[in-house]
């Protein structure tokens, strides 16, 4: 024997020690075989399923949003007949068009003006539009050979010498296709009927003053109608398949003309569409974030369970000579193989999911979808890798630290990595993933704060509840006592479990509530019977006649609002001092604000006046006895039926802009007279409802004597539109503005967006169900074991099932309650900050949330643990040993 550490006394037994290195092939082969054996035994299925769901939901949603977004933009681009539009009341510089062509953009030009059209039998005011050969750049003109039929799409306008007319102009002019039409000094042949025009809803007054007459750009000169001072709308249209090209061009215009000209896209053109698109994008993003988050939690849970079940595995591998490094390598390889398989299967599934969504949407998506890019698959694959790294790697790597002594003493499982480190990894990974995915600080912070608050709240609440639960039902043998002591024993796990359940239920609640609120909001914005025509310039004596006309024809007319142009002169005797540019002041594009469109134009005629004066442009004001629908009083009181003269109600933002207080005395200039009124209320106005809305409403008797014209709205179905001819013939001075095409387009887009939202909700629901299942399964072994022992000790089936039911139901109730709290708080933040909606409490959810939690968790739990009483205790114990 020596002290050298070498056993010389028995040197005959030569036991040379190799370096223990195993060839890469050996390790890879072993890891692959382990993976296959685990897979076969079902150990890996839930983890794999969670990974696949993460990849499938993320790539599916990303694919879908990618294509849907492109499609929605395309569809909405139809509203402009282009991707970008430059419009002006003055002739536009030709070099803009040249520059665009030089950059490879497609271009077209239009020119709109009002004119009389004549035929041999009659005449009528038309909204004429001259278009260049390339028009329309996006969308189709629908034309037909006869009026009031369905028509076929075409992607060009009329040839020189031809005009196309909207159906209802034909009876008014007493002509048919093939007859002559005169505009100004030129004669044209009517060759086609316009059934629909892509950018019909755009434009201003000149585009909405009468039925459309379309002619070729080259014929404008011949008519001699457009002259100096004519009211004309010039438009340049641009489009490109490359978004970047458009953006660069936009930047060039900004630069070259120092902001004098600004390109508009569909989001500028229609506030309603832009808002719907923005909200849909936010919702889809939120939905996929929840999907990632939930799939991540499912991965974390299943990986943890997987690694717990592998302690013995690793201990045995170690007794057989596997080093920690080799164990680490084996599990890394298993994960890598899993990731690759999950990415392949998940991507395929994601592709399938997005196809199912598309098929479901076929009815509402009318345009051909652009092909998908490869990016969503990369996003999906990266999600899988990040999920694995942050959720699954820590518990699996902790396996390396499993002491081999565990083969002798099962109670040993100390790990050098603290038990909470894996969670920190997961939390870090989640935050990173959410931020990377959304690039949205608000969304990320809402999610992080919501989940963190839930964690803190729950730890405290659960601790209290579970600690005090011992006092409940102390009767020996009672199921309550059993359940509560079980709940107390697993306090740490239970708090975690309640947390996971809460976060899951909360995600589903947030998405569900947001979905119904958004849809309800859109439905309220443009309900079924939204009036789709504005009648303007109606004189007092015509009101009764028009009402009679509608009655006679069975058309649903609406209230008549007097309209008169007014300007604020002073507030409490002082010159008003407006704050920054009022947002609404810039926007004169929507017909919904038709009430102030005229005012803007009048204002524009006096640009040389002082700055304040210029910004205090004239507004179309009204007086009313009843408060208009969709308006709400925010402060002060609306005058009742016994309204006294001399009061005025102001829209909230306008009042704030001018710094008006309740009770202020405001001087107005109306029809060259000065009128003073006291501010009696502030109102909120729903600007997006496509109805007449007013900043300023006077009480009856205040300005009635100043002579006003009237404005009304009417709902006319497509087949009723021909009545417009009779209406304008009988009342030739009135102006009809047709917004039916616009409303239809917006409703169409909103329908698409709604379906998309519904489908995303379903996807997230599936992810949520997966998490719940994984979470129940996570503590399954222990419950099985404990209850098998209970049964061995004589616990009846009934007692055990009742105690399990109570335990799961209590956890579910708690989770549901906390989830409701978290959902409402998050919704408040999301709706106010991100979706621009007014938040209101959802009272029914306070009942439904806890109830849902109780039922779902109890149901899932009992379903998963049923085996406890149906399998013999011996088998359970044997299976777990």
């Amino acid at each position: 024997m020596t002290n050298s550490g070498t056993y010389s006394a028995h040197s005959a037994i030569d036991i040379p020690l190799g370096d223990g290195r195993k060839s890469l092939g050996t390790l890879l082969g072993l890891a692959t075989r382990l993976l296959w054996r685990d897979w076969r035994s079902g150990e890996l299925r839930l983890l794999f399923l969670a990974l696949v769901m993460a990849v499938a939901s993320v790539s599916g949603i990303a694919l879908f949003t990618d294509r849907l977004e492109k499609a929605l933009l395309l569809e909405s681009a139809n509203m402009l007949a282009a991707d970008r539009v430059l419009g002006s009341g003055r002739a536009l510089p030709e070099e803009i068009l040249d520059e665009a062509k030089g950059r490879g953009l497609r271009t077209a030009r239009t020119l709109s003006f009002t004119s009389m059209a004549f035929s041999d039998a009659g005449n009528m005011l038309v909204s004429a539009k001259a278009v260049s050969a390339a028009y329309p750049l996006r969308g189709d003109i629908i034309i037909a050979d006869a009026p009031f039929v369905r028509g076929t799409p075409i992607q060009r306008g009329p040839q020189p010498g031809e005009v196309w007319l909207e159906s209802r102009a034909l009876p008014a002019l007493g002509i048919d296709v093939g007859d002559s039409v005169y505009v100004g000094e030129a004669e044209f042949e009517l060759t086609k009927i316009i059934i629909a025009e892509p950018d019909r809803s755009g434009g201003g007054m000149v585009d909405n003053a009468g039925p459309r007459l379309m002619l070729h750009m080259d014929d404008v000169e011949r008519t001699n109608v457009v002259q100096m001072g004519s009211r004309v709308s010039y438009r340049f249209l641009f489009s490109s398949e490359e978004l970047l090209q458009l953006d660069e061009f936009e930047a060039w215009i900004d630069d070259a003309y120092e902001g004098e000209y600004r390109l508009r896209d569909v989001r500028d053109e229609s506030e309603e569409v832009s808002e719907a698109l923005n909200r849909a994008e936010s919702f889809l993003l939120l939905g996929s974030l929840f999907a990632v988050l939930l799939a991540g939690v499912a991965i974390a849970l299943t990986a943890k369970r997987y690694s717990e079940r592998h302690y013995d595995y690793v201990a045995i591998l170690k007794t057989f000579g596997c080093t920690s490094a080799q164990i680490g390598f084996i599990y890394l390889w298993i994960q890598a193989l899993l990731a690759v398989a999950a990415v392949i299967v998940g991507s395929l599934l994601g592709w399938g999911v997005h196809h199912v969504i598309l098929r479901a949407l076929q009815a509402v998506i009318s345009v051909d979808l652009p092909s998908a890019s490869f990016e969503p698959f990369i996003v999906g694959a990266l999600t899988a890798v990040i999920c694995l790294l942050s959720f699954a790697l820590p518990p699996l790597l902790a396996l390396r630290e499993t002491p081999p002594l565990r083969v002798l003493r099962k109670d040993i499982s100390q790990q050098r990595i603290g038990a909470n480190i894996p969670y920190l990894f997961g939390v870090g990974g989640t935050i990173g993933l959410v931020y990377w995915y959304s690039e949205d600080f608000v969304l990320t912070s809402v999610l992080v704060i919501a989940v963190a608050s839930i964690a803190i709240l729950l730890s405290g609440l659960s601790f209290l509840l579970l600690s005090s639960s011992g006092a409940i039902g102390m009767r020996a043998g009672s199921a309550w006592k059993l359940a509560m002591s079980a709940a107390r024993r697993r306090r740490k796990q239970n708090v975690l479990q309640v947390m996971v359940f809460s976060v899951t239920i909360m995600s589903l609640l947030i998405l569900g509530l947001l979905r119904s609120d958004l849809i309800a909001d859109w439905q309220a914005q443009l309900p079924e019977n939204t009036p789709n025509h504005f009648l303007m310039n109606i004189s007092q004596p015509q009101v009764a006649g028009i009402e009679e006309f509608f009655d006679e024809k069975g058309v649903q007319g609406n209230a008549f609002y007097p309209l008169i142009s007014a300007r604020v002169l002073s507030i409490n005797g002082e010159l008003p001092d407006p704050q920054d540019e009022l947002e609404a002041d810039e926007d004169n594009s929507t017909v919904a604000r038709g009430s102030d469109t005229g005012a803007e134009e009048e204002g524009a005629e006096e640009p040389e006046e002082g700055q304040v004066r210029g910004r205090l442009s004239r507004r179309q004001v009204t007086w009313a006895e009843e408060i208009p629908a969709d308006n709400r009083i925010l402060a002060g009181e609306w005058w009742g039926e016994s309204a006294a003269a001399g009061f005025v109600s102001i829209e909230e933002d306008y009042a704030e802009w001018l710094g008006i207080e309740l009770g202020d005395s405001i001087e107005f200039e109306i029809s060259a007279q000065t009128i003073t009124a006291e501010v009696s209320s502030f109102r909120s106005v729903r600007w997006d409802n496509m109805q007449p809305n007013f900043y300023i409403i006077f009480s009856p008797g205040t300005i009635d004597h100043l002579g006003a014209t009237f404005l009304s709205t009417v709902l006319m179905e497509r087949e009723q539109k021909i009545l417009l001819n009779e209406l304008v013939q009988r009342f030739p001075t009135i102006v009809v503005i047709e917004i039916d095409a616009l409303i239809e387009q917006i409703q169409n887009i909103i329908a698409q967006v709604t379906s998309a939202i519904e489908l995303i909700s379903v996807l997230v629901l599936i992810c949520g169900a997966l998490v719940l299942l994984a979470c129940v399964n996570a503590t399954l072994d222990e419950r099985f074991y404990e209850n098998a022992i209970l049964r061995t000790l004589g616990g009846g089936k009934r007692l055990i099932m009742t105690s399990l039911l109570i335990e799961f139901a209590s956890i579910g109730f708690l989770a549901g309650l906390v989830a409701t709290l978290g959902a409402e708080a998050s919704l408040y933040y999301l709706q106010e900050k991100l979706f621009g909606q007014d938040f209101h409490l959802h009272y029914w959810v306070w009942v439904a949330g806890p109830l849902l939690g109780t039922l779902v968790i109890a149901g899932l739990g009992i379903n998963s643990t049923r085996g406890v009483v149906s399998i013999s205790p011996l088998n359970v114990l044997r299976r777990l040993n």
């Binding site: 028995h10 037994i13 223990g20 060839s23 050996t26 045995i316 080093t323 083969v407 099962k410």
Partner: protein
Amino acid sequence: MIEIRALTKSVPTSEGTLTILKSVNLEIAESEIVAIVGASGSGKSTLLGLMAGLDAATSGDVLLGGHSLAAMDEEQRAVLRGQIVGFVFQSFQLLPSLTALENVMLPIELKGDSEARAKATALLERVGLGERITHYPNQLSGGEQQRVAIARAFATEAKILFADEPTGNLDTATGAKIIELIFDLNKEFATTLVLVTHDERLAQRCGRIVRLVAGEIVND
């Protein structure tokens, strides 16, 4: 083959340090069959764990096949275990997700031996389970599971076999058969066998009995 020098193992408990093994010295020669006996809590399993390099001692050393365990970290001990040590456990320690064959193949595969399947099949036939190689542990009786574990222990042709209460979970008749099997294979493979047991009849069949009481050898 095994030399134990002043081996001490203490663990911290809530009531202070508990010394499980108190300066134990022991030598075991090649091919020797040694039973370590003692009451529950006498430290015999701890001694086995330390001898086999599954755990590190508080002080003292174990020379296993000429290699000082005290000088090794867990990684090096793992390499040593993989090359010269085999195990049979009271609770069998078969992996439930693997079949009998795969359980026996595992340590052979770990050595990178491409003959794993053939060797494992031969061993399972040798222990009388040739017909049940595709069965999972939960489809086998306790005795059968222990036979699989024995086949696995001899699979790597280990020089030293450690058996921790190999009959502890078995009835007397089955236990007797398992003991026969271990002794037979031990003879065939010329292995050094260290058995931990509190079964006196089993101990009597071993060439040497080491008795532990409260962490000290009282009888050798």
